[in-house]
């Protein structure tokens, strides 16, 4: 696993925090997803330029009593799953915002 992996919100999704639960609709097929708390944190922090390891350290390890290596492994698996659903982009290099990327959802 590459610790310098980068994640970015996909451009063609809709998303909103509804009652503390992040709801995301895929632009590809209008499938609706509900993210759990950890997945929501990753989604909100997925700016394309902050390494996944740093996101995990700042947003997950700081919030939860969890072993950093385990948290990073779990976050990487979760990111891959979200990427398979087409709602997150994964890259080995930074993904600067081309100007079309959505903001973090309120």
């Amino acid at each position: 696993m590459n610790a310098n992996r980068y994640i970015a919100r996909a451009a063609n999704v809709a998303a909103r925090m509804i009652g503390g639960e992040m709801m995301i609709m895929s632009g590809a097929d209008s499938s609706l997803y509900s993210l759990n708390e950890t997945a929501s944190i990753l989604w909100q922090a997925a700016d394309g330029v902050t390494p996944l390891a740093q996101i995990v350290e700042q947003h997950i390890c700081a919030e939860y009593a969890v072993d950093p290596a385990t948290a990073l492994r779990d976050a990487a698996e979760l990111s891959e799953e979200l990427a398979r659903q087409g709602i997150l982009l994964l890259s080995e290099v930074p993904l600067p915002d081309p100007g079309t990327r959505p903001k973090a959802a309120p």
Partner: protein, 382 residues
Amino acid sequence: MSGLMHEMGAKALKLGIPLSVQLDLTYRCNERCVHCYLDHDDHGEMTTAEIRDLLDQLAAAGVFFLILSGGEIFLRKDLFDIVEYARKLMFSVKLKTNAVMIRKARAKRIAALGVESVQISLYSHRAEVHDAITKLPGSFRRTIEGARLLRSHGVRVSFANVLMKHNVDDYPEVQALAAELGVEYNVDATITPMMDGDRSILGLNIASAELEQIFHNSTLVGNAEEFCAPPSGPLAQADALDSLPCSAGHTACYVSPYGDVFPCVQFPLPSGNVRKTRFLDIWRHSPQLQEVRAITLADLQGCSSCAHGGSCSRCPGLAYMEGDMRGPSTQDCEKSFARTGVPSANLLRKQSEKTRPEPDAAAASPQPLPGNRPVVWMAVQS
């Protein structure tokens, strides 16, 4: 509706979140459809900056589905600025348009912005019929071209086929045209009064026999047998108290080009203006919206004991335009009748008033009417 979608709606209802908002960007239009409920003058539309501010407020309020409609939205020169801003705020954006002004570059941009879908008004497969309804020569050709361009760029498109006397026989061919273009098809058999209350355009509504035929067509309504099944009778009192008429004002609302907030585009009860009051304050504290939310099926005069209680598609906005938001909507009573053959309590009462000097007990115990139903109910409609 998926289970998760249902859960999201239920959560929004419980928490008082406006999940869906229709924002009309303009009432101006390049068509002059014979059945349109709007006037087409500009009485002071919100500016780009006002709309951006409103979109910020809507996102903060929890709005997920944003429908941008009009008028014809492409008459706003800032349309793409608005759509781009809305998408950055992560709304699921649906556009309603006649597609006359959509060319290759615009279709490409709509696709690039991740618009969820585009709903296009189409009235017939025959250019002369469509153009006679829109009163815009050449509109059929341009609308179809717009739909083709959107599809070629991978945009999800649906046709909204409003039926009226002019085009009631054309829907099978419009349906076939939609299939050929890879476009979803939705039929709408309701002509609504104008927003100023003028009911003269209701004369364009199709006859009951035609409505009945449509409701029994499985390609239009899904399982026709289930859709047209006899009503199960009035809801129990406890269920009626919990039953909500529809999402208008509960998880959905409408904002006009001038910033006026209403429970729904078909429910012109003025509830505030976002130029004077923050959207969330209107949504939470408007006396009008609170009144709408307070209504349950048990409160509806003439409906709480109706046989259609559990399956009625009553539109509170149409009831409001008929004179009482706590009363029945005769147009929906007619639909329920065309669907099931069982008259509503309201229709029975109206018939009773027409034929007898005093109301009789039949109004309280609806029974199927014998005889010539279309004649009876078209008389009610007028």
